[in-house]
């Protein structure tokens, strides 16, 4: 720590320097106001003692100048002066001085007050450094989230979001939350779908998405079964993800006869919307998410649901159900159900989806969207 002693009298420069000798402070002295300013800029002291009485200029003006240069850094100024009347003290403190001692001063009192100021300086230095670190990490994370969005957008390029039977909407938040949705119509007319949610946020959450995407499109062209694809996805993720990461997912195959075969692990239940009912039991996860169980333990049993003609399936990511309105109230199952029930069932899947999104956004109001949102609707 560096102490700058500003005093036109040599004797006081010596006294103060001697007082702090045992504290391990580096000390420099200035006899004039100009010298003080020069040293302040060059040497960047952490703490200053200052006699406002000086033949070389106005001490109070100097305090103001020093505080202006310091800006938001905390560099305490202790005024130690012969001119110890109330008016001077008031003027000094108003100008920005942090402490005021009358000469001749008591060295124990001086040291006690010095300790307090040093503590504040230490604290402010730490805070300053931590703030810089935080700003650095924050900008790094923001960059990573943008990168993750880009990686994912690239991965999902081949996904056929504009199928007559399916609509997918992704509303991206600033944080990438690991949502992914892939759709591909197979040559046999069946529709292969994958909706996944990787643990965590940002770039780490997107790591597993690239190999899964490749495997997905290969499976679509090879007519791989849902169970085989689940096994394959699990194998890929077991190998590349650390043990604290996984991917909750639905792998679905909608056959031309409206039979929906699915494997689900760790995802919230989906909604089946019929003419006059909304079913939340028919499609739910029965397994642990992908990337947890070893190849031997993995369970690939799938479920088949026969969808009535005219019904729809809606899969919503956590982000939808956890969406908050202006008052901070989460949407939740029941509210979402009422939104699902409102659009006319006969309209096209695109109009249905637009109506849902419009209602979700109106629920959200001016509240900030924290998570990415993925909403996938399927028509029979």
């Amino acid at each position: 720590m560096k102490l700058l002693v500003v005093d036109s009298e040599e004797i006081y420069r010596d006294i103060i320097s001697t007082c702090v000798e045992s504290r391990g402070l580096q000390t420099k002295t200035a006899a004039s106001m100009d010298e003080a300013l020069a040293l302040y800029n060059e040497w960047e002291p952490d703490l200053i003692t200052l006699e406002v009485l000086s033949p070389s200029g106005d001490g109070i003006k100097l305090i103001k100048q020093l505080k202006d240069v310091a800006q938001d850094r905390i560099i305490p100024i202790m005024v130690i002066t012969f001119k110890s009347d109330d008016a001077t003290m008031n003027a000094c403190i108003k100008a920005g001085a942090d402490d005021f001692l009358a000469k001749p001063f008591n060295d124990i009192l001086f040291n006690t007050r010095l300790s307090t100021h040093l503590r504040n300086v230490m604290f402010s230095k730490e805070t300053f450094q931590k703030n810089r670190d935080l700003i650095y990490f924050q900008s790094m994370i923001e960059r990573e989230h943008r990168m993750a969005h880009q990686v994912l957008a690239h991965a999902m390029d081949r996904s056929e979001d504009h199928d007559e039977k399916v609509a997918v909407t992704r509303l991206a938040a600033t944080t990438f939350n690991g949502d992914i949705a892939l759709i591909k119509r197979r040559e046999d007319g069946a529709l292969l779908l994958f909706v996944g949610d990787f643990t965590g946020h940002g770039l780490p959450a997107s790591i597993g998405a690239l190999p899964l995407t490749q495997a997905f499109f290969k499976a679509a062209s090879d007519n791989t079964s849902v169970a085989q694809l689940a096994n394959h996805f699990n194998s890929i993720l077991i190998d590349i993800l650390p043990d604290y990461m996984f991917c909750a997912a639905y792998i679905m195959l909608l056959k031309p006869n409206d039979c929906l075969e699915f494997w689900g692990g760790g995802m919230p239940h989906a909604f089946i919307i019929g003419q006059d009912y909304i079913d939340m039991e028919g499609i739910h996860s029965k397994h642990m998410p992908l990337g947890i169980l070893s190849r031997d333990e993995f369970e690939d049993t799938t479920t088949e649901v026969n969808l009535c003609s005219g019904s729809r399936v809606v899969i919503a990511s956590d982000g939808v159900l956890e969406m908050c309105n202006d008052e901070g109230v989460m949407l939740g199952d029941e509210q979402f159900k009422s939104i699902l029930a409102s659009p006319d069932n006969c309209i096209s899947i695109d109009s249905f989806q637009s109506a849902l999104i419009e209602q979700l956004l109106s629920y959200q109001g001016k509240a900030e969207q924290l998570d990415d949102i993925t909403l996938l609707s399927i028509n029979t």
Binding site: D243, M245, F246, S285, M288
Partner: protein, 100 residues
């Protein structure tokens, strides 16, 4: 502290109590909470009574714990509220943990 660890006198049971939000911010603290008890214990109890929120990062941390701790040790996730129990059951954590 958001995490407290207690070892019972007969030394067969270790309790780990998490308070508040169980999320990624506890990643290192949670790991160090159990790192001294990887083997030789009958039960590790993760007490969820004071957990208000749990995200998928926390599920990952529990899985990582399951992998690190000896398979002879039963890991019990205790006192979950219905919100947390629901999250645990959707991901079928009952396959790796005892959920009470």
């Amino acid at each position: 502290m958001s995490i407290t660890v207690t070892v019972e006198q007969n030394s067969e049971r270790v309790g780990i109590r998490v308070v508040g939000s169980f999320d990624f911010s506890l990643f290192n603290d949670f790991r160090s909470a159990y790192s001294d008890y990887l083997t030789g214990f009958k039960e590790l109890v993760v007490d969820m009574q004071a957990v208000e929120y749990l995200d998928s990062a926390a599920l990952g941390m529990l899985l990582s714990m399951r992998n690190s701790v000896s398979s002879d040790t039963d890991i019990i996730i205790a006192n979950s509220n219905s919100f947390i129990r629901n999250i645990l059951m959707i991901s079928r954590f009952d396959k790796r943990f005892t959920i009470t």
